[in-house]
């Protein structure tokens, strides 16, 4: 498999990272180099192997479905680049 410039643009967009058009060829080449390295995995016989989900079989921890935390609006907003009237503020979204 090999990544074209158009695919590199698509990946950058999916990752929400702005990449200038003139940087796309280098990006595609770099991604291709890394993907080529990963191609080695095709040599391995994985027939019938379950994908690993965790290092140890353990039951996901459970707890009672109750509120354990909260009432910290100020603390949550304190690090926001733009917070107004108790909300995170972002540019206008029109769809």
């Amino acid at each position: 498999m090999s990544i074209t410039e158009a695919e590199a643009r698509k990946v950058a967009h999916l990752a929400r990272i702005a990449v200038a058009d003139e940087a796309l060829p280098a990006l595609a080449a770099e991604l291709n180099g890394i993907l080529q390295f990963m191609e080695q995995l095709n040599e391995v016989d994985v027939e019938g192997v379950e994908p690993m989900t965790g290092v140890e079989k353990m039951r996901l921890k459970r707890r009672e479905d109750v509120v354990t935390d909260g009432d910290m609006q100020e603390a949550i907003l304190r690090n926001a680049p733009d917070a107004r009237e108790g909300f995170f503020a972002v540019p206008k979204v029109v769809e």
Binding site: A15, L31, I34, Q40, V55, P91
Partner: protein
């Protein structure tokens, strides 16, 4: 000897005997930190917090209620959230971020009485093997080669440099593919990556959640045992934290490994491996044999697929974890142009907030998880990961107690040496360590010797899951037999 040169165990004993105070010890470290700007290890200094914590520790010591870490000055990797203190994973995108909460690891250390000197430099979001991807600039290894500045390794390069240069008694590190063990080996220090789930990940900025694990970076194996005991806990805030009591790791250091079976995996003998590394590995095996252990040749057949597996899984998880840095809730937002909408805000914020290596890994991760490629890359990598883990399960089932390997394929290299190299060349630094993260096992780097140029070299011991006590005991035997006492000559 100045107080900052003490080990944790020595300082603990002298603090408890009231020969020294935590305040004196802390001042000695703060002076050492102030005099070591050239190493660029400490990037946020917290002397006020340190002095307050030292005073509290002295009160505790006076009252006789002093856990082992009480009054011990440590450095904290910038990846750990520390309340009110900048915590930005060495990334521009978290510029100005001051957490409103404390990570479980730092809270545990503070509860045990430890003193925080400040935050330590690292590779951005823990992605790197040379500490050259940090927004704060490179960390410089206290070990030098002629006039050339060397990398301390990465990603916990600041932690390793600070411990090697005696700026602190110990430091926290994190290890996703070798980020504790490789810098420990490059600086002649000890680094332990515990079993996945032994140390809570809560409040530690996530890179690859199924691989990340925090651990101690120290001057001796005994210190690693002491500090792991304070860092580890059962934490309801981390669903992957294991429900297992934390044993007394220091008590496991009996020095007796007679009858233990040490595996030497033949697949770790790589083509082109420097002769010195191979010789060191053989010496290490002989030291353990002389101590009464049995040396056994073993096979871990899927070893060669560990790096490509890692470089699918880690970026995939990183692309998901790093999606949260969008310029909305914390950190830095890019300046927007007239008419820019929310997508432009995300794209510009992430383009200028993430460095090159982080961007590359986020995009690789995005690609391997994208529709049409998920099975070919991500699912296949997860299957190969299962086989890598099975290799280890099988040798442990055959009665192997511990596995001995080199820690790194070379000694520390000059800063800038890899700048023009293919990214994959840099990834090869993790060749001996990354299998351990994929299998979730504990791994310990111990300094064993110097190369012909006078630079430290380390070996790695790999233990059974949850068997850190036994692993550390083997490490202490190796450390004792190797008698590594070399220190970098002070130039900074």
């Amino acid at each position: 000897m100045s107080l900052n040169e003490l080990t944790i165990a020595e300082a603990r004993d002298r603090l408890r005997a009231r020969e020294i105070t935590a305040a004196e010890l802390t001042d000695a470290c703060l002076s050492a930190v102030d005099g070591a700007g050239a190493l660029n290890a400490f990037v946020h200094h917290t002397p006020e917090i340190a002095r307050q914590q030292a005073a509290a520790a002295d009160r505790r010591l006076a009252s006789g209620d002093a856990p082992a870490m009480c009054g011990i000055p440590v450095g904290i990797k910038d990846l750990f959230c520390t309340k009110g203190v900048p915590s930005q994973a060495a990334s521009r995108i978290l510029e100005g971020f001051r957490p409103e909460y404390e990570s479980t690891v730092t809270q545990n250390l503070f509860d045990a009485g430890a003193v925080m000197l400040g935050k330590l430099n690292m590779d951005e979001f823990a992605m790197g093997s040379s500490n050259e991807t940090s927004v704060y600039g490179n960390v410089v290894n206290p070990w030098k080669l002629d006039d050339r500045q060397l990398t301390p390794g990465g990603s916990s390069g600041g932690s390793a440099a600070a411990v090697a240069a005696d700026l602190c008694l110990a430091a926290t590190g994190t290890d996703t593919g070798g980020s504790i063990r490789q810098p420990a080996a490059f600086t002649g220090t000890v680094g332990l990556k515990p079993t996945y789930g032994r140390v809570s990940r809560w409040g530690t900025i996530a890179f690859a959640s199924s691989l990340d694990q925090a651990g101690p970076m120290t001057k001796t194996v005994r210190d690693a045992a002491i500090m792991l005991g304070a860092m580890a806990s059962v934490d309801p805030k981390d669903s992957t934290s294991a429900d297992r009591p934390v044993p007394d790791y220091e008590a496991a250091l009996t020095g007796d490994i007679r009858g233990k079976r040490i595996g030497i995996p033949r697949e770790y003998r790589m083509d082109g491996m420097p002769v010195e590394i191979d010789a060191l590995w053989k010496q290490g095996a002989e030291m353990l044999r002389d101590a009464g252990a049995e040396i056994v040749d073993i096979s871990l057949p899927h070893t060669k697929y560990a790096l490509p597996t890692y470089y699918v899984i880690a970026p995939a998880e990183a692309s998901s974890n790093l999606a949260r840095y969008d310029g909305v809730r914390y950190g830095r937002r890019a300046r927007l142009s007239q008419g820019d909408g929310i997508t432009e805000m995300y794209e510009k914020t992430r383009a200028e907030g993430f460095g090159h290596e982080v961007q590359r890994r986020v995009m690789i991760g995005t690609y391997v998880l994208s529709a049409g490629f998920y099975d070919a890359y991500y699912n296949r990598a997860r299957k190969v990961r299962a086989l890598i883990k099975r290799d280890f399960d099988q040798v442990f089932a055959q009665g192997i107690d511990t596995i001995l390997t080199p820690a790194t394929p070379s000694a520390a290299f000059p800063l800038g040496a890899m700048t023009d190299a293919d990214p994959v060349q840099m990834y090869l630094n993790d060749v001996f360590t990354v299998t351990v993260n994929l299998a979730g096992l504990p791994g310990l780097a111990v300094p064993v010797g110097l190369d012909a140029q006078g630079l430290p070299l380390g070996l790695q011991l790999i233990g059974r899951p949850w068997d850190e006590g036994n692993l550390l005991n083997h490490g202490a035997v190796l450390e004792n037999a190797a008698g590594f006492v070399a220190k970098p000559r002070r130039w900074w």
